[in-house]
Amino acid sequence: MRIGIVCPYSFDVAGGVQYHVRDLAEHLIGAGHQVSVLAPADDDTPVPAYVEAAGRAVPVKYNGSVARLTFGPVSAGRVRRWLGEGEFDVLHIHEPVTPSLSLLALWAATGPIVGTFHTSNLRSRVMLAAQPVLRPSMEKISARIAVSEDARRTLVEHFGGDAVVVPNGVYVDRFAAAPRDPRWTGTPDRPTVAFVGRLDEPRKGLPVLTAALPAVLAACPGTRFLVLGRGDGDDALDGLAPAHRAAVELLGALDDEEKAALLRSVDVYVAPQTGGESFGIVLVEAMSAGAPVLASDLGAFRRVLADGDLGTLFRVGDPAALATELVALLGDPQRRAEVAGRASVAVRRYDWRIVARQVFAVYETVRMGADRVGQDPTAGGLLARWLT
């Protein structure tokens, strides 16, 4: 099958949607399909062979956070050319309500179109105001996928209709088989706890973790906190006493293999996010790597952790609750092993082999009874006349 995938976010920056698109594309190519991914990138940025660069991405604030997006006449032209040359059987657009390539592609295309909705935090006011602009484009999507129950609810709330839930995928075996790294492996005296996420984005929860730190260190003095992520952590770390600050080790950004090794080595992975999470892919990665998970009880996390059966939950944004649960976990290796054991079996349903099959079932369903992906004469004409 010839499949065109559109990613709205630039590949230069790490992000859940980008990883999802990359892994899905590689899995489909591995299964023998022809895949082309259209994504923002400069012409001189090195990208994988299956990625078509659609122009430079500009950092823009949208929906409450800064994202690197591509728009404007040059990109619109490239989208049309890509659609024309691709002769796709199915067009798969990620995050269709982002003002980037996704919306441009949706506007310019007709035929079997699949849309995947990743976010669960669309701003209601913006969505309400943008309805007249978005609706006619949204109507062209023949199959809507949401990555979680939360994302589905958000979508249905704003646009009505329905969507099927297909979760984000993970290469479970890559995490399960990653080698342990002695630098990050805990000992009974010096257990290790991992945090993964941007340091300067408060909703990722670093401030909650640092607020819980004194209580944890009082009970387990040797605990090491390994922090993986980009950004400036000063705001969250400056308030700590020097003795507490010394327990935090900033690892910066790590590549995929190092991240897998980290999650494979630590005694506990903690996810103190305070909101805006639609799925929780890192939780699934940690479960694959066999790391016991301690997470805030956000809806998305509760669902991934089966209400606490596959990991431990604490009240969202509550450092005291985090500290209590973390100290209890660190003191109970048997419970950690049991929960991680259950999680590593349950996590199989997020493996790409199963997830990609579900996505492909959606492709086959929309293809049946429909033509190929083509160019929308009305939108194409308008774009051509007014933008290029």
Binding site: V133, K140, A361
Partner: protein
């Protein structure tokens, strides 16, 4: 209603407005007495005309989506019935007869004339229930899969059941969207839907048999 403008609509109306003014200006020069409101009316008529054709195109696309998703659903339902017939060969005679009966009913329902929606829903519901009865237990299914021939037809049936569910959801999503647009005032007042039938959702039980699904997850 400026806030309800679609992308491009403002640009287009502006451009048409300019053309309209130019045309009217030319006529005005010739005739000599054109009041100030004529350009405005011409512009409004042009915008209305553009909006009507735009809405008609949008509705047409939605009708097309309703039809193609319906065709996909019919196709998947036929595949499911065929897979159920195939699978009956590896079952005990009683279950086989039950399944064959339900699957044949489903396959022949639309033969004489296109099946009316209620009948279609009824026969497909019957097939769903027959499948549910035959494969409600994951252990039984696991035992059946010992035979390679059975494995193949069971896989086909499982895939078909999942796709029926997907196809119906996508179809009903298209129907809901089409219904919403058809309720719009501009569509009703100007009868943009023509003689197209009011789209109806397909309401049926499409739950795949528990015994088959357990093995997939």
């Amino acid at each position: 209603m400026a806030g309800r403008a679609a992308p491009g609509r403002a640009v287009v109306s502006g451009a048409f407005g300019r053309i309209g003014e130019a045309v009217v200006g030319w006529i005005g020069d010739r005739v000599g007495e054109v009041s100030g409101w004529v350009p405005l009316i011409v512009a409004l008529v042009l915008v209305l005309g553009w909006y009507l054709s735009y809405s008609a195109g949008r509705l047409d696309r939605l009708h097309h989506r309703v039809e193609s998703t319906r065709a996909a659903l019919d196709g998947q339902l036929a595949r499911r019935a065929a897979a159920a017939l195939e699978v009956a060969h590896v079952l005990d005679p009683a279950t086989a007869l039950l399944l064959t009966d339900a699957a044949t009913e489903a396959l022949t329902a639309g033969e004489e004339e296109p099946a009316a929606v209620p009948t279609l829903e009824q026969v497909e519901n019957d097939l769903t229930r027959a499948l549910q009865a035959a494969f409600d237990d994951a252990d039984d299914v696991r035992a059946l899969r010992g035979d390679p021939l059975a494995t193949e037809s069971l896989d086909l049936l499982t895939q078909a059941c999942i796709r029926v569910q997907l196809a119906r959801r996508f179809h009903n999503d298209a129907v809901a969207t089409a219904q919403r647009v058809r309720r719009k005032r501009v569509v009703r007042w100007f009868r943009l839907a023509g003689h197209a039938e009011w789209p109806l959702m397909v309401e049926m039980d499409d739950t795949p048999p528990t015994g088959l699904i357990d093995l997939v997850a």
